[in-house]
């Protein structure tokens, strides 16, 4: 397909994809007191900032920002490295029964998260991890590992094994080969896993709701979700404004990490 056609297709599809985002933003900007659902596509007024202020006040969002940021940064970093190490062990080091071990790690994702919650809550409150930052980091890390291991394992299979063998002949240790050759080579995959998992954690509701209680430990979306309720609570435009606000950091994260995916990684050189 020609360049022009490809660009045109992408632009057209992209516009369709952004329509719900457009609806989200213009409706988040409407004042709750004059809001109607009958003029969905037409911007009527601009109260976005007032709505955001309402949302912050209603949900106490600001208390959660720092700890949520910590979870969303620390956990995926640990998970990415742990997952890459697992992939490295299976693919480069040719761990015996590697597929079985891979399934063991991957199996962590097949179980519905809702059913993990109550036993985890019980265990956490017994060992003193309930409502602690450490507890949240640990659980978010564990949740992120299977995905990370899966992507890294498969990414490394695309790397010729003689890369490893050549390094061994140079006298490098496995640790060195892992940190100096395999990790740098995988930077686009590592970044992709990081941003996807960071976004997942930033937007997590279930774990935060069950394993924490204090305002300074609870993740941000957990505090936000309470705003919507039959028994009084925020109006739709306020909830949407809050969603816009909470989504900003992740959108920015996606924006700034795009350059990692812009260049082809010349794996052929290895």
């Amino acid at each position: 397909m020609s360049r022009f056609l490809r660009t045109a297709t992408l632009v057209a599809l992209g516009i369709v994809w952004l329509l719900p985002v457009y609806l989200l933003i213009i409706n988040a900007s409407k004042s709750p007191t004059t809001f109607t659902s009958t003029e969905a596509w037409i911007p009527t007024d601009f109260s976005l900032f007032a709505n955001i202020a309402d949302a912050m006040q209603l949900s106490g969002l600001s208390d959660s920002v720092v700890s949520t940021l910590a979870y969303a940064i620390v956990s995926p970093i640990i998970a990415v490295v742990v997952g890459a190490a697992a992939g490295f062990a299976i693919v480069a080091l040719r761990l015996k029964r590697g597929f079985l071990w891979f399934v063991v790690i991957f199996g962590g994702t097949v179980f519905p998260l809702q059913m993990v919650l109550l036993p985890l809550f019980d265990a956490y409150s017994r060992v003193g991890l309930y409502d602690t930052h450490a507890g949240m980091i640990i659980v978010y890390t564990a949740i992120s590992i299977p995905f990370s291991a899966f992507v890294m394992r498969n990414f490394f299979t695309g790397v010729a094994h003689n890369v490893f063998e050549a390094s061994v002949l140079d006298g490098a240790t496995t640790w060195r080969i892992f940190t100096r050759i395999y990790l740098p080579m995988a930077s686009s995959a590592l970044v992709a896993i990081f941003i996807l998992q960071a976004t997942f954690i930033w937007n997590d509701l279930l774990l935060g709701l069950t394993l924490s209680q204090s305002d300074n430990v609870r993740p941000i979306v957990t505090t936000l979700s309470g705003m919507q309720s039959t028994y009084g609570g925020a109006q739709m435009s306020t909830v949407l404004a809050a969603a816009v606000l909470v989504s900003l950091p992740t959108v920015v994260l996606f924006l700034f990490t795009q350059k990692f995916f812009s260049r082809g990684l010349a794996l052929g050189q290895y």
Partner: protein
Amino acid sequence: MNSRRMVGAGIAALTAATLLLTGCSGTDGSSDEAGATTGTLDFYTDKAAWEPDFDELNAASEEQAEITLNTTGYSDAAQYDAFIKQSFRTQKSPGLFTWHTGDSLKQLVDEGLVAETTDLWTKAIDEGWATEGLRAEYTIDDKQYCVPMNIAYWVMYYNKNIFEEHGIEKPTTWEELDAAAGTLKDAGITPYYQTSTLFTFQWFQQLVAGTDPELYKGLSTGEVKYTDPEIVEIMDIWLDQHEKGWFSDAGSTVDPAVGLKQGDFAMINFGSFFNGSLDGAGMVSGEDYDMFVIPAVNADLGTTPVAVESGPLCVAENSKQKDLGLAYSEWWMSADAQTAWNAARGDVAFNPKATVNDPMLADLGTTVADGEHELFTRYFEATPTPILTVALEQFGAFNANPGDPMPFLEAIQAEADKYWADQE
């Protein structure tokens, strides 16, 4: 580096990262010493939207009872229930938590998990802080458990502008209500709100209790079957109204408060906590909207039945904060506390001596207590949970595709048969 050092390094890195963060963990000076009756009380609720109101109330409770609440809100009611049940087995057994009356409360009481509040109720009745009728909702085997957090009467809200435009007065009989609906429909306005998920029960509840309160009671005890001819007859009234086009589109997900504001429908049968949502949507109480008690279907009943819902505040029997929780509960029942609560969160008050700010809600409180109205327990609390789950789904399906009521009723009765058989 060999493999052991590798593992060691991994674990060390994990520990270091976590320790760093545990340093600033969330311990918040809660009063954990058993027996304390002043201090900070951990409070759990599924009414997360009320958290700011509870925080606002802290000034009054600090001053009058030296207790402040540390509120944790949950957004999903079903998961909240599971969390609370689980917490009884742990160190985190709650000092104060919101719950439901009816079947759910009885389950906890049967297991000995909730602190008794008989003394608090005796005092409240003596002081005139609560009514006997309300006490009955909190009584299991002659003892009381928990105290009322809120109370709501299920009434008909209406868009005042629409009513005035079409010269409709507040209906006082079932015939007048039907006539009003007919007039509205002729003018191209949908009379009633309905939905196909969750709040699907209220019209059924209203029709059954308004026809025969005993029949309604029979459903909740299993003596009356959903497939009995009386119930089928009532469903036919509902179906007839569906066929006349009296109900709003079941596929609409518009916030009901916004729907009433923009005239998607003229009336909505909802709990009296709905004032808050309507105010939030920009409608003015008494000016843009008003409410009336729904007249009984059967004019010969003598008293008009009104559905009432009450959400309890409970204290766990084995909580470290039991005494603190009970001290707060006692304060909570008082007229001062309820006046302060009403200032924080406008609602009807269960305490007749409390001051209610919104004149519409104050009127409602007086109306239902005038002797011509009879309170009955809302369908949600009156029906055992497994039957309720099926009933809400079936009424929702009925609203989405109204037709012969029998298959829907049979589905509910099948679950009811199973439930009552298990209770033998």
